[in-house]
Structures are given as C-alpha cells and as structure tokens.
C-alpha cells in the first residue's frame, strides 16, 4: 500500500499530476480550486520531476498553452472553476477538433455569472454535451472522494491519450476543499522525448528526415473532408461509449428505488441509502463515474427492475435528462436538486424520494 496522506481534493489533484509524470500545468487562480496551483508552486515540480508550472495571464491563455504543449505530445493539464471554464470553451473545442489529449479540471461553483463560490453541479450540460461549438465530446470523470481526485488524474490522462481526446474531471467546491485520506502512488517517470516520438508519432516534436511534417489543426475547408473527420469523431465517441463506461453500484441488487447521483451528491445519497435501508426502504444508488460516456445501458437495465429513479443533483436538473434518455420512459424518473451552492442533506433527499414515490 502506498503512503497515506491527508489532503484536500485540490491538493490531491496536484500531487497526482506530479506523480503521474505530467509534463506541465498551466492555470489561473480561481476559488474554489486555487489550491491546485498553490500546492504545485509550493512543491516546485520543476525540481521534483522537471514538470513545468506556469501561472498564465488568464484561463484563455492557459487552455491554449496546454493546447500547444499537448500538440507536442506532452502530458499537460489545466484547472479552473465554472466562469473560468466557460472562458476555456473555445480552446476546448479546438483541442477536441485537433484530437489532442489533455486534462481539464473543473471544480464547479454555482452560477450563472459570478454566482457563488460554493459547490454546485450546474456545469453538467456544459461538460457532457459540449459547452464549446461543434459536435464534440469530452471524456468526463466525476470523482466522489479525494482519493478519486487523486486517482482520476492518471485515469484521465490515460483515457485522453488512448483516444486522443481531452478529458475533464468534473468536481465541485466541496470535493476540492475537503480533506480525506489519500493513498499516494509511486512517482512515475516523465516520458522522454524519444519515447514521445515513438509513442505519439503525430506530435510536433520537430520534423525529422524519417517522416513527413506533423500538423496539428482543426481546420478543414473542404466540407466533404470535414464531414469525414466529423464522422471519425462520432465513431470515436461510439467506441468510448462502448468501452469506457464506469459507475459504482451501492445496494442496487435488490433495490426498489434507485438514486442516480455523482460527485458530492453521490456521497450524500450514500447516506440516504443507509437511512432508507434502516427504514426498510429498498433504496440503491447508481453513481456514474463517467458522465460521458454515461452509464445509459446499466440504467436501462435497472429501469426494468425498479419502481422509480431519482436523479439527485446540485442543479436545476441536468443529468436527469440523460437518465430519462437512458430509461426510455420504462420507469418514472424524478429529479431532486439544490442550487446556489447548497448541498442537499441526506435527510431531505430521503424526504424527496418518499414524496415522489411513496
């Protein structure tokens, strides 16, 4: 077992980036995620592994810095919170269009606008349907603990490189700020330039006589070719949907009712399940770990068995649409949400469940 540490979610992300052998972090401060860059600054990753750290002039600049570095096959990431992530949308769309791997962390706070700095899950649509322009998807991971904040850095990078697609960790202020016990992994070495050249022959590492020049672009003025490219992306997303769905099931086997919740909400719902079980209500929790790809099929299976499904989100109801699309009206689907930075309590979730179904 690795070393155990008490860490904030934001710190775990930063430490994981160093240990996973990331090549660079480019970011801009914003509450509630500034600890990511602050932790890195204190750690001096340049000295630990040679990882580059730069506080950029803005979120726009930082997403485009990682665009550049990712184009050269580097393992790079950025992080921000909701308003800052909105500013990154153009860049994210470019990165998706250029088929580059990278990791973007959103520690969500309540919106719209400046809103509140308290936790929220109201950026689900933006993250999963594409907040930027054009037909693209991010691979979206939703950690529910500090350990997962740590673990999903590696997972996110791995998936990003596997599919040459930007991955997003969709967290929230509560998970970013909270401390839990984290098992820290070994330090992985950063890739050498030689390794990058071999593994990522598409990367702009400097044209050598043995190959054609590499071009990183999302532009295609010929519509027929552009459509081909779009189809390639669609096909990639299909493959991802087939292979990369991840979720956790808590007391689902015999459940009459199902909660669907991710991240902080899922932690609350875990408690709700405990409470409900104590009252004799057979409640289960399906926690999507990947929001894109969404565990639609598993939900469709449950739709045959359970009497009702309730999506619990810190939003006015976004993931609930994916739940509905998955279950195809085979069972009643409800939404329970809190907004504005308020985290629902386990009690009120149970209350809501009873009101809607019992």
């Amino acid at each position: 077992m690795g070393e155990l540490k008490l860490m904030k979610g934001n710190e775990a992300i930063a430490e994981a980036a160093i240990r996973d052998g990331a090549d660079g972090y480019f970011g801009y401060p914003i509450t509630p995620q500034s600890e990511v860059i602050e932790y890195l600054a204190a750690q001096q990753p340049e000295e630990r592994t040679g990882m580059v750290l730069l506080q950029a002039e803005s979120e726009l600049a930082s997403i485009n810095m990682i665009y550049g570095a990712a184009g050269s096959g580097k393992k790079v990431m950025t992080s921000s919170s909701s308003p800052g992530v909105s500013l990154k949308q153009e860049g994210i769309s470019y990165i998706a269009g250029a088929e580059l791997p990278c990791l973007v962390l959103n520690v969500v706070r309540g919106g719209p606008g400046l809103g509140t700095i308290q936790p929220s899950q109201s950026d689900y649509f933006q993250s999963t349907k594409g907040g930027g322009h054009g037909d693209y998807h991010l691979i979206v991971l939703a950690p529910a603990s500090v350990q997962e904040m740590y673990d999903f850095v590696e997972l996110g990078f791995d998936l990003a490189f596997k599919y040459r697609n930007p991955a997003m960790i969709l967290s929230d202020g509560a998970i970013g700020q909270m401390m839990e016990k984290v098992e820290i992994g070994e330090q992985k070495p950063r890739m050498t330039e030689q390794q990058i050249k071999e593994k990522y022959p598409w990367a702009t590492t400097g044209k050598t006589p043995d190959r054609e020049r590499n071009i990183i672009t999302s532009l295609e003025l010929d519509s027929a070719k552009m459509e081909k490219f779009n189809e390639k992306l669609v096909e990639k997303y299909r493959t991802i949907k087939e292979n990369e769905v991840r979720y956790e099931e808590i007391q689902c086997e015999d459940a009459d009712y199902l909660l669907v919740a991710y991240g902080t909400s899922s932690r609350i719902c875990e408690k709700t399940v405990e409470m409900a079980r104590q009252e004799g209500i057979k409640l289960g929790l399906l926690r999507p770990i990947t929001l894109f790809p969404f565990p639609s099929q598993r939900l469709a299976e449950y739709a045959q068995k359970v009497k009702g499904i309730m999506s619990v989100e810190m939003s006015s109801g976004q993931m609930v649409e994916d739940v509905k699309l998955a279950v195809e009206s085979r069972v009643q689907v409800e939404h329970y949400g809190r907004m504005g930075g308020i985290v629902p309590s386990a009690e009120e979730v149970l209350q809501a469940l009873k009101q809607k179904f019992l």
Binding site: L6, A174, Q177, M179, I268, V273, A346
Partner: protein
C-alpha cells in the same frame, strides 16, 4: 464507530488545523476521516468552521448538519451550532467573547477558557491546542499519542521545533477539563 465533530470560531483561531490534527490522528489509528471546511473569499477576520468525521467505516456524506461534538470559539458560532449538537452530545467552548452561554440541558457542556490560559502561558498561538487537549479529555476520539503524532504530521518540518510547546498546551487542556470535572463533581 463514527464521531462527527464541528469546530467553529474566528478565522485565525486555528480551527482548521485543529481539525487536521484530529484527522491525522485518526489516520494513524487506521480510521477513515473527512475534513470539510467552510470557505469564502479571502478576508481577515470573519468566521471559519470545519466539520470532521472520524469513523471505522467508509464515510458516506462528509457534509452533515448534526454533530456528536461541537467545539465553539466565538459567539457567532455558538448561535449557529449550539442546536446542531445531537442530544446527549458534547459542546466545548471558550468563554472568551461569549455573551450568551449555551443553554441546552440535553447535552454535555464544557467551558475551557483556553484563550485566557494561552495568554497566561504566554503562547497565544497554542490556544487551539489547549482546546484540543480539552476535547480529547472530554471525549477520547483518538488516543493522546496518536494526536501528538497527528500534530507532527500536520506541521511542516520547519515548524517541528514548536511541537513541544504545542504538546504542553494539549496536556494543559486535558488538565483544565479534569479540573472542571472535579469542580462539577464537588459542586
């Protein structure tokens, strides 16, 4: 076994680090822990609080509204959290600056005048350690030596020379509670 604690006071009173030490101590004892702070824009002053859970099992929700134990260090926090203590639970507070003392009778209330004590010991910075000592005496959530270990782990190396004085403060906190208890029994 699961213990749910809220620690609340002014920013700068060491509320957050008290919680950290508890958590680290819990980890050393092989427990699960969560530490969930309130957070806001950076301003001096203002209130701060952290809820800590230490449990033998996987912790579901880290965000809770009722607590087994509350440690309260100013009036605002008293107003906010007195009623969040579960019946039969514990409330430990510092009397300094408290204008309305706790009134509940269904919980165990302890007053530890740590601020005054720290001033007397001429180590105002250890104020929070006195409170922590008090807590551990009232309720041995973690073992004392684990708490000291937690203290060490939560301090960066460069502050390790401060460990002895902090240890002393923790012990002073336990003494105060012993005295209070004695007084209670005698009264």
């Amino acid at each position: 076994m699961s213990e749910e604690i809220i620690i609340a006071g002014f920013g700068g009173q060491g509320v957050l680090s008290m919680g950290k030490i508890l958590c680290y101590a819990g980890i050393v004892q092989g427990k699960e822990v969560t530490w969930m702070p309130s957070y806001g824009p950076e301003m001096r002053g203002g209130t701060a609080n952290v809820s800590v859970i230490i449990s033998d099992e996987r912790i579901s929700s880290p965000i809770i509204s009722e607590f087994d134990t509350a440690i309260i260090l100013n009036q605002q926090s008293m107003d906010k959290f007195e009623n969040s203590v579960k019946p039969g639970g514990y409330l430990i507070y510092d009397g300094n600056g408290i204008t309305r003392h706790p009134e509940r009778t269904d919980i165990n209330v302890y007053r530890v005048d740590a601020a005054a004590e720290a001033a007397q010991m001429e180590t105002t910075k250890t104020f929070n350690m006195i409170v922590l000592g008090g807590l551990l005496q009232v309720k041995p959530i973690v073992e004392m030596d684990k708490a000291i270990e937690g203290l060490k782990k939560s301090l960066p190396e460069r502050y390790h020379h401060l460990i002895p004085v902090n240890e002393k403060a923790i012990h002073r906190g336990t003494q105060i509670i012993q005295e209070v208890r004695k007084a209670k029994v005698e009264a």
